[in-house]
């Protein structure tokens, strides 16, 4: 008899994406098998295709190990809106399933934690915004905004025992940072358990995409997460271009690759500086901030935006960055010099390094199981970089290796950033040496009805994925975005367990996660 984990039917093949349809009873077996074989769960989402084929559909996207390919498991749900939860076997699916429950009302059976994720308590029950026929009354909207998000007695997980006390923090924090609520259960100074409550900045981004055309959507993608503006817009544009079958020119690819690396560079150096703020090393913080500012001003001169906005368009880019080659080279030279100076200073400051070592340790096993991505994954020994695993743009021509560290502490995350920053500098210099053919952008045809595609790239924080689907008129049916912060937030509690409360900002800064990117 055929094993249940092989029972899947290839329904569609598009570029490096293979879509397999499965039956409800085989869903968990098939996905678990793929994960066991080394597939990485990249994203999981649902669509409301009731107007097209009468079903809701679940999509689970895995990277095929060692190959530039994606296996996408599709599960149609018609009358029974429940499905077997994957979380039991694949913990990385935890937040995705809770998100799908909130946004679509599809229920994961046997999920260990079925509380709401995205919406706070005052949001009306049985209301699922990403359903096509969803409506909300003005009165419900008013209640949603005005009623307290935290119930009393609260629905946070409780830790009981002698000497345990709770510290509630946020959503409005002390620094100039984004909002989120943290509930610490501490024993003396030691954090025993932390539960974050996020999604305060939920802006309904995915639903908002559906009301725009694909070309307008670039502007929104740029504003999902401020410091990853360019990566988000690139992943979004790549998804739309792949869906429409457009081939962008070598020149456009070069501009995108160059700006992706510039974005990585200013983020990594800024983050290394910010870690100093966590240890109270004012000089290191100031030096990092100055280098970052120089790079931001370079961004401004190149593109007219300090956050590299307004460059990406569907079909290519709007600005030719290679006109400024000399300026880039000069600035990067100066920055390299200052940056090396900063690293020498940091690594020679024992009091700083001692605070970083063995702080906020994230074990490789937890990182792998929870599907951590980006710097945090590589600092815990996971050799995964979308630039390498699924080479896109000009990354197949550039020589680089993902840098990994084994220890998974704050120090490891800082050193991964340091290595990647140097790697970015050399990539930028290499890219500037050649000249590239072609126009800046090409015309993009309307997408075939109900076609869909993935788009992805590596942001400074980790991989970002977009999945887009078009209707008959070439308008978006569904835009799914998965930012790296959504994968990494669930592991922050593991990393801070056993650390002291005053080290929480340090641990948090070493991950440098975006609230807005996670909350969408």
């Amino acid at each position: 008899m055929e094993k249940s984990y092989h029972r899947k039917v290839l329904i569609k093949k598009h570029l490096n994406e293979e879509y397999y349809e499965v039956m409800r009873e085989d869903f968990r077996d098939v996905c678990t098998y793929l994960e066991k074989k080394g597939g990485i769960l990249r994203l999981m989402f649902a669509t409301d295709e009731r107007q097209i084929n009468g079903t809701f559909r679940l999509y689970v996207v895995f990277s095929v190990p060692g190959k530039d390919a994606f296996s996408i498991i599709v599960l149609p749900l018609k009358d029974d809106l429940t499905y077997p939860s994957l979380t039991v076997n694949i913990p990385a699916a935890h937040w995705y399933e809770r998100e799908i429950k909130d946004m679509f009302g599809l229920f994961p059976v046997r999920h260990p934690d079925t509380r709401r994720l995205v919406f706070h308590d005052p949001f009306p029950a049985d209301s699922h915004p990403l359903r096509k026929d969803w409506k909300i009354s003005d009165e419900d909207l008013k209640t949603w905004g005005e009623v307290s998000a935290i119930k009393s007695p609260s629905d946070f997980l409780q830790v009981e025992g002698e000497g345990i006390y709770e510290i509630p923090v946020g959503p409005v924090h002390a620094g100039i940072i984004e909002p989120g609520h943290f509930r610490f259960s501490a024993v003396g100074e030691t954090i025993f358990f932390l539960e974050p409550r996020l999604f305060y900045t939920h802006k309904g981004t995915e639903k908002h995409f559906e009301g725009m055309s694909f070309s307008q959507g670039v502007k929104l993608a740029e504003r999902v997460s401020g410091t990853s503006s360019f990566s988000h817009a690139t992943a979004y544009c790549l998804a739309v271009e792949r869906m429409c079958g457009a081939e962008i020119t070598e020149k456009a690819q070069a501009v995108r690759t160059l700006l992706l690396e510039l974005e990585r560079l200013y983020n990594h150096i800024g983050d290394i500086g910010n870690i100093c703020a966590g240890t109270g090393l004012a000089l290191g913080y100031a030096k990092g901030a100055v280098i970052k500012e120089r790079l931001m001003q370079l961004n401004d001169r190149l593109t007219g935006s300090r956050y590299l906005r307004g460059v990406n368009i569907v079909g290519g880019v709007a600005k030719d960055i290679f006109r400024h080659t000399e300026d880039i080279m000069k600035t990067i030279d100066a920055v390299t010099h200052e940056y090396k100076d900063l690293m020498k200073f940091l690594l020679g400051t024992v009091s700083h390094i001692e605070r970083l070592e063995n702080t906020g340790v994230l074990s490789g096993e937890i990182a792998r199981k929870m599907g951590v991505t980006g710097v945090a994954a590589r600092a815990s020994g996971i050799n995964d970089d979308v630039r390498k695993a699924h080479a896109h743009l000009l990354y197949d021509r550039l020589y680089f290796e993902p840098h990994t560290q084994a220890r998974g502490d704050v120090y490891a995350r800082m050193m991964v950033r340091a290595a990647e920053a140097e790697c970015s500098i050399s990539m930028i210099n290499t890219l500037l040496e050649s000249s590239y053919k072609g126009e800046l952008s090409v015309a993009v045809d309307k997408a075939p009805a109900y076609s869909c595609s993935l788009g992805y790239t590596e942001t400074p924080r980790g991989s970002v994925f977009y999945w887009v689907m078009s209707d008959e008129q070439g308008k978006p049916v569904r835009v799914k975005l998965r930012s790296p912060s959504f994968c990494n937030w669930p592991v922050v509690p593991f990393a801070v367990h056993g650390n002291i409360v005053p080290d929480f900002p340090l641990c948090n800064k070493s991950f440098n996660l975006s609230y807005s990117g996670c909350d969408m």
């Binding site: 706070h120 998000a149 909002p179 900045t201 802006k203 309904g204 009301g211």
Partner: protein
């Protein structure tokens, strides 16, 4: 050496100079007059110290990084007597960014009420002005003014540190004429 230092300190305390000299490299506004206006305004209206509480009400984090940049050694906003504080209870002004997501609405109102009067509210960035690119989404309230009273606006996506500084300077002018 030490006597020199003491002399310098005494000079600083007793001297009449209330405009801090800005080294050439750090000159950031087009003309000196702008700086003088800003500093005079803060000196006169706020008794030489303007304390700002920044509140993120659903921004994408770009506006926050621009506020953070104001504190870096290049802009060094603290030399004008301006600083960002950790609690609304210490603040003269709230600087609000983001379109005010529904899930932040209550927190923003509470922060506003925790700020001592007379309080000034500055909506910073396109989202805070009219929710910018997020206009019409179910999860935002279409701008800060729909939630708490707003006194001043600085548009931009995000406004650069220089634009925020220029905005603060204009704000001083408006406050002076109000008095």
């Amino acid at each position: 050496m030490i006597s020199n230092m003491i002399k310098q300190i005494l000079k600083n305390i007793t001297g009449k100079k209330n405009v801090i000299e800005v080294p050439d490299k750090l000159k950031i506004l087009p003309d000196e007059e702008h700086l003088t206006d800003l500093i005079n305004g803060i000196d006169r209206i706020f008794g030489r110290s303007l304390r700002i509480r920044q509140v993120d009400a659903g921004s994408c984090n770009a506006c926050e990084w621009e506020c953070t940049a104001l504190v870096n050694p290049i802009y060094d906003i603290q030399r004008f007597g301006i600083d960002f504080v950790a609690s609304p209870r210490h603040a003269d002004m709230l600087l609000v960014t983001g379109p005010v997501s529904r899930q932040m609405e209550l927190a923003l109102k509470k922060t506003y009420l925790a700020t001592p009067e007379p309080r000034i509210v500055l909506a910073c960035g396109d989202c805070a002005v009219d929710s910018g690119v997020y206009k019409g989404s179910y999860a935002v309230t279409n701008g800060v003014a729909n939630v708490i009273p707003v006194d001043f606006y600085i548009p931009g996506c995000p406004p650069t540190p220089l634009q925020i500084l220029a905005g603060l300077k204009q704000l001083m002018e408006k406050l002076s004429s109000r008095k």
